[in-house]
């Protein structure tokens, strides 16, 4: 069987083949002494179009192509955690050892160390009847019990015919033998491959995302929460802090495993994560953050086709760990670069372009990607989840563009970053009024709604004041304006450089939000705007200090007392529109 290159255009190569070609099949183009990995993305007659995961220079018409027969897959097994991979699951540190500073093309390395031995603990016995995705035992991988499962592609019920005893085994050792319904015997080891573009569905059922995924960012947890198993997106113009927000989330979010897909963004930012994470200690476990993290890194200067694959590689690993009953958070930065990779390929394929030359199937691919998130009940009864948070980099900062719009249709929460807020150094620069979430947060919705309404009204007064000046604004309006500014300053903004303020536990959020609601709903007695402003300045200053103090420390309690005294001094009742908020609750202060 001879397959020959008949055309090259950018990273697309056309091949005349004999025999069979499968969509998404992996092929190798043999050029000189290099074998370049590529994937079938279109078949037409006896011509297959391949996207090449490497630079295509040097390929010549007539070069031989090998069809592997396998779909583009990742290797799943113990040892994934703590790794830094490129979009095709090549371990980058190992590549660096072999090739030095540069990413030589055509060098592919094993994703997992097949010599390392793992302590295997069987959990089933001979005769057990299992389906794909069910556990036969586990090994200890860092903090977790890494389940050894029946490979996901096996069909029907399998009967275990033999299983190894507890002991040390390496990756490819046969641990068990299982016979399927057709009588075929399968050998099971710790590792198997799974095609990245197919979702893993070996769970019992999908559940509704209800539990809040704590990010320890006040604006998110309180106003625009994310649920375990949910999806959210962060669109924003350049310089608004998308990546920083993702970095902070990757540090503090309450998930078992974090998978970072650095897709087509700056290498420098990945390097920060790469070098800092091993040093950072997770307060929850006392272990390095790297032990719960996988980084898939296909930065902007790495080949574009591998960028397209990288988000799928990441989500496949996320689904794999979900299958062990773990909560996984996948952070993809940025999905626009992934969409652009598809646009580049679509252009090369000379498909009829959609809006802004993105392919017509853009929306369905984005939807399919986010739909791989979800909280599921496994056949064992455990639950596991994959939460996906993707940044979007809209051209010109304009949210009307196709990628943002397609994403907004399918996600459960929208954290829109605003240039104005970033320019004013207000971090996180998430716009509190434009952003939304369909999930439930950690604070009673009535109270958050009230906070939002203050922000909304304050914003209106602020707009008006720009026209009529402070003099033309009534005292009542001015107080609303000050209240909204206050809420923004002390609650919505958060100082990520302050060790205490950087990550706020949910109890603390609930506690301080109650104080804030107290202030927001209070009818306050001021003689004039001057007095009102200076009072709010004083409360704000105290509150900022308060935010920087350790939870329940003496200083914390003292400041809380100061704030409540300041409030008592001026409070003469409750705003009429807030009466219902306190109904049924013992009134504070």
């Amino acid at each position: 069987m001879i397959n020959k290159v008949i055309g090259v255009s950018g990273n697309m190569v056309s091949v005349e083949y004999t025999g069979e070609a499968t969509m998404n099949e992996v092929c190798y183009i043999i050029t000189g002494d290099k074998k370049l990995k590529s994937e079938v993305i279109r078949v037409k007659g006896n011509v297959a179009d391949l996207q090449v995961f490497e630079m295509t220079s040097g390929i010549s018409v007539g070069d031989t192509v090998e069809f592997s027969g396998d779909l583009l897959s990742v290797q799943l097994g113990p040892g994934l955690l703590g790794q830094v991979y490129d979009g095709l699951q090549n371990p980058l540190p190992e590549l660096a050892e072999q090739c030095g500073f540069f990413l030589e093309r055509g060098v592919y390395m094993a994703a997992l160390d097949d010599e390392k031995e793992w302590e295997f603990n069987p959990t089933v016995e001979v005769g057990a009847r299992l389906e794909a995705g069910e556990q036969i035992g586990f090994v200890k991988e860092g903090l977790f019990n890494h389940w050894i499962m029946v490979p996901f592609q096996l069909e029907g019920v399998l009967t275990i015919e033999s299983i190894k005893e507890e002991g040390k085994y390496s990756l490819n050792d046969v641990l068990a033998e299982a016979r399927d319904e057709k009588g075929n015997l399968h050998q099971l080891s710790m590792v198997f491959n799974w095609p990245v573009k197919r979702a893993i569905k070996t769970y019992a059922e999908r559940l509704k995302p209800e539990e809040t995924l704590i990010t320890k960012l006040r604006i998110i947890d309180t106003f625009i929460p994310v649920a375990k198993g949910g999806t959210y997106c962060i669109p924003g113009p350049f310089g608004a802090g998308k990546t920083v927000l993702q970095q902070i989330t990757s540090r503090y979010a309450d998930a078992d495993i974090i998978i970072i897909a650095a897709c087509g963004e700056r290498a420098g930012e990945v390097v920060e994560t790469l070098k800092e994470f091993p040093e950072l200690i997770d307060p929850k476990t006392g272990r390095s953050l790297m032990e719960r993290t996988i980084i898939i890194c296909n930065t902007s200067s790495m080949p574009v086709a591998a960028r397209e694959a990288s988000v799928y590689t990441a989500v496949t690993m996320a689904e794999y760990y979900r299958q062990m009953g773990l909560n996984v958070l996948l952070l993809a930065d940025s999905t626009s670069r992934w969409a652009q990779a598809m646009r580049e390929m679509s252009g090369r394929l000379e498909e009829i372009p959609g809006e802004e030359a993105f392919p017509a199937y853009l929306e369905s691919l984005i939807a399919a990607f986010y739909e791989r998130a979800g909280i599921v009940r496994l056949k064992s009864g455990d639950t596991g989840s994959v939460t996906i948070g993707g940044t979007v980099s809209p051209a010109g900062g304009n949210f009307e563009e196709p990628v943002t719009q397609a994403t907004l249709k399918v996600v459960g929460a929208f954290h829109g970053l605003s240039q104005q807020r970033a320019d004013a150094r207000k971090y996180p620069a998430i716009h509190p009024l434009e952003s939304w979430s369909k999930y439930e947060g950690i604070i009673d919705q009535q109270k958050t709604e009230y906070g939002r309404s203050v922000l909304f009204k304050g914003d209106e007064v602020g707009q008006m004041m720009k026209v009529v000046g402070e003099e033309g604004t009534s005292l009542d309006d001015y107080i609303i304006y000050l209240k909204s500014e206050f809420l923004d300053y002390v609650y919505i903004q958060q100082n990520s450089f302050d060790p205490v303020d950087a990550a706020v536990e949910p109890e603390r959020q609930q506690h301080i939000y109650d104080i804030i609601i107290d202030i927001l709903t209070a009818r306050l007695d001021f003689d004039g705007k001057e007095e009102a402003r200076s009072w709010f300045n004083r409360v704000r200053q105290n509150f900022l200090d308060y935010n920087g103090k350790k939870w329940n420390s003496d200083e914390f309690n003292d400041l809380e007392k100061t704030i409540s005294e300041l409030l008592d001094d001026k409070k003469i009742g409750v705003e009429a529109d807030a009466e219902s908020l306190w109904a049924g609750e013992s009134r504070r202060g």
């Binding site: 290159v5 008949i6 055309g7 090259v8 255009s9 950018g10 056309s14 050029t31 630079m55 295509t56 220079s57 040097g58 390929i59 010549s60 018409v61 007539g62 830094v84 980058l92 540190p93 660096a96 090739c99 030095g100 500073f101 540069f102 990413l103 030589e104 093309r105 113009p237 350049f238 310089g239 087509g264 700056r266 290498a267 420098g268 390097v271 920060e272 790469l274 070098k275 890194c297 930065t299 902007s300 200067s301 790495m302 574009v304 670069r337 652009q340 580049e344 679509s346 252009g347 372009p353 802004e356 030359a357 993105f358 980099s393 051209a395 010109g396 900062g397 304009n398 320019d423 000046g469």
Partner: protein
Amino acid sequence: MQKVYSKIESISGNVITVKAAGVRYKELAVVGSRYGSSLAEVIRLKGDEVALQVFNGGRGVSTGDEVRFMGEPMKVSFSPNLLGRIFDGSGRPRDGGPELADTMVEIGGPSVNPAKRIIPRNMVRTGIPMIDVFNSLVESQKLPIFSVSGEPYNELLARIALQAEVDIIILGGMGLKYDDYLFFKDTLEKGGVMSRTVFFVHTASDPVVESLLVPDIALAVAEKFAIQDKRVLVLLTDMTNFADAMKEISITMEQVPSNRGYPGDLYTQLASRYEKAVDFEGSGSITILGVTTMPGDDVTHPVPDNTGYITEGQFYLRNGRIEPFGSLSRLKQLVNGDTRDDHRAIMDGMIKLYAAYKESLEKKSMGFKMSGWDEKLLTYGQLFEQEMMDLSVNIPLEDALDKGWEILGGCFEPEETGLRSDLIEKYYSSKV
């Protein structure tokens, strides 16, 4: 063996096609026409049909011209002999000196393994307070200067080239006006840095396509110097011309355009150049400063927009000054903590006051009454613009910080500065 073909099938814009066999993608060829020979690069293979972009342009190319394939991709000579030399966009000498052919290196090579990068930690001092104090340039940073035609961006680049603490300077000019080219040459010669400078200059009168090679050549050379432990500063002006050249080729190739006619891979193309900025673990570094002129002063234009997503901040050059608002060096936090204890405070404090000055100025222009505080701010703002923002100010960082205190002392009471008390005690002296 070199293969020669003498039948050109089609000529369209700067792209020609020939029927040829055994040709490799991205291979170089020489097209000999009666107006002189030109390099050309293979940009598409389709059966036996080979499309080439001709760097000197398609003008004057005849169907009977000879196309000679070289069997290898574009390469540039790399040796210390490059220093002090001036080349054109294709790497041929522009200064009348000898052609260099020793140790040819491939251009547009593979990207650096992220695992081999390090977190940048050295500041590149430039003597320009708006950069050193307010938005420090960091070794291995990639930073564009967003500007509009007519602004002195080339003067700014030349000054940075003269004063930056680096070992090697590489200037890549794309569509550079001939006057500007001469200006760079004169300034760097007079400044005595020519001996550690290499020029790759494509001028506005050269064929447009030739500018496509400039960043790749400049960066390939930079990369080689950097892995020899050299700190290299690459100056690219103007990247918008580079993007426009790309647009021209992709339209000729009948590729589907994405935004305003630019090809869909504009981001990738720009990123693969800017991402060459790197600090090698245990070796040298490449810092990139590029000029991006914004057509119509519109930052949402595809070129500045995509650039902004790639680079680590940006400088806005407006009215001959680096704007304090909008300009940002994302890496400055990595270096400005250990310069002098008042560096960050001065950086934030002076900008906040300058922002307040802008508000007062606006109020004044709308006819509102000026308070005593407003008057102070107005004095401050003017001083700040004259003594800090003006591009002619040329002082080291420490002097600039002292200057900052001098301005603050001349305008405000200590508590009005909004700075920390311990710093005020140490540095503030009143001259009100």
